[in-house]
């Protein structure tokens, strides 16, 4: 009956923070280890020298991220990694929504300091999408709570599906898609990743795909 076992294998362990119980399965263990590895080497690496070639110029110039900005963006990258670990391990629906919001806001922070008006424009539109997202994300969670009377994924996994849950599931999916800048609303992301600073930008891509992977699992657990 328990969907978590059917989806991800046995539960290796859990941390009982009273009502919020983060748990580890083989699946989330793989996710966590990947995220930790990525975060460590993305945080360690320096930004690249981006070579820029222009028309009517013979020289190829290189640009890079200034040191102060790199430090700030590295901080945001590490924070994003931590929040991603939360996203994949958390055992509570509302907590999941909050972690996804934190991921979104750190993603925006990675791009906040770039002096490039079209990157900033994309970051701003992404921020707008994120602000709209609070409605479907938290609203979907609240509708689930109203219908089932619980937020814990462990309990929700054993519950049968019903029509209202379909709505809340769709809302949660839409919300997570918006927060992670996933398809089909990826234009902001594609604009943003044209900025310089390879390690930090890569973190954004990682975060959006991890959120996607996890949200699929959550939808299965709810269904």
């Amino acid at each position: 009956m328990n969907d978590i076992m059917d989806l991800n294998g046995f539960v290796i362990g859990h941390i009982p923070f009273a009502d919020i119980v983060p748990y580890l399965t083989p699946f989330s263990l793989a996710l966590v280890s990947t995220i930790v590895v990525f975060t460590v080497f993305l945080a360690l690496s320096n930004p690249e020298l981006r070579s820029v070639a222009r028309f009517r110029e013979d020289t190829v110039r290189t640009v890079t991220v200034e040191k102060k900005e790199a430090r700030f963006r590295r901080f945001m990258t590490i924070l994003c990694g931590i929040s991603l670990i939360g996203v994949v391990t958390t055992g509570d629906l509302f907590n999941f929504a909050l972690f996804v919001s934190l991921t979104g806001i750190t993603n925006m922070g990675i791009f906040a300091g770039i002096k490039d008006s079209h990157v900033l424009d994309a970051a701003f539109q992404y921020g707008l999408v994120m602000m709209i997202c609070t409605l479907p994300l938290f609203g979907g969670v609240a509708i689930t709570l109203a219908k089932t009377g619980t937020l814990s994924l462990g309990v929700l996994a054993g519950m049968p599906s019903n029509p209202i849950l379909n709505i809340s599931r769709t809302l949660i999916l839409v919300g997570a898609v918006g927060e992670g800048a996933l398809a089909p609303f990826f234009a902001t992301k594609v604009e943003m990743i044209r900025a310089k600073g390879a390690p930090y930008i890569n973190m954004m891509h990682l975060s959006s795909l991890m959120v996607f992977t996890r949200v699929i699992e959550i939808l299965f657990i709810l269904g």
Binding site: L120, L128, T134
Partner: protein, 231 residues
């Protein structure tokens, strides 16, 4: 033993909340649809930020319609998230416009306005008392609410106050203090989860830490406004 202890907290949600629920959800959806359609029609970027508040209100309504203490505890994070996003997004908008202007080669000196001190009677008389009362009341409360109330008190005073000599270094120190408060507050949580029998000290650490943190942060915002406008 309280004779009425069993009637204090019911086992089920009261019937009146169950009756509220469908109306609240339908109204929330209508509000959200109105807000989102406004968003679709609006062209100006800053106006979009203002209109997005309406779907956020709809979100508050959906969450609060559950009608339990849990729902109340869930609205507070939602509120914080929306406020935080608003803060970051509006800042990015300002920075974007600045970059656009620079790129066009416009002289940034156009933006450099000189402001006079605002002369209103109420600013001299009522405002200091109000802010002091707000701060005192905020100190009595704990948690995010207390921080917000106290922060509002500090903020309004600093936002309209006289020109002061606080420098950027002072800011950074204030940020440092709030960082220390954050650590205190996290330590309080750790005590909760590791040794719940010492819950009282944990409660005070968390309550005190968060209020210092939030109030100082909002205070920073006020200093910011004053440094900008009352040179």
């Amino acid at each position: 033993m309280n004779p009425l202890a069993d009637t204090v907290v019911p086992t089920l949600v009261p019937q009146i909340f169950v009756n509220f629920y469908p109306i609240a959800i339908v109204i929330a959806i209508i509000t959200a649809v109105v807000g989102l359609s406004g968003l679709i029609l609006e062209r100006n970027d800053f106006q979009k930020i203002l209109i997005i508040q309406i779907p956020i209100f709809a979100m508050y309504l959906i969450v609060s319609a559950v009608g339990t203490d849990l729902a109340e505890a869930l609205i507070l994070p939602g509120m914080v998230v929306s406020l935080a996003e608003l803060l970051a997004v509006s800042e990015i908008l300002i920075f974007r416009e600045l970059t656009k202007r620079e790129k066009k080669g416009e002289s940034p000196r156009v933006m450099n306005f000189k402001y006079d001190q605002i002369k209103m009677e109420v600013l001299k008389t009522a405002l200091p008392i109000t802010s002091v009362v707000c701060v005192i009341y905020g100190v009595i409360l704990t948690g995010f609410t207390g921080g917000a109330v106290a922060g509002a008190g500090i903020l309004i005073y600093l936002f309209v106050g006289k020109v002061g000599g606080f420098s950027h270094e002072f800011w950074e120190e204030m940020a440092g203090i709030s960082g220390v408060a954050y650590v205190f507050w996290l330590l309080g949580f750790l005590i909760y989860f590791i040794a719940p029998q010492y819950w009282l000290i944990a409660l005070f650490m968390s309550g005190g830490g968060i209020i210092i943190k939030v109030a100082l942060k909002f205070g920073l915002l006020g200093i910011l406004g004053r440094e900008e406008y009352n040179r």
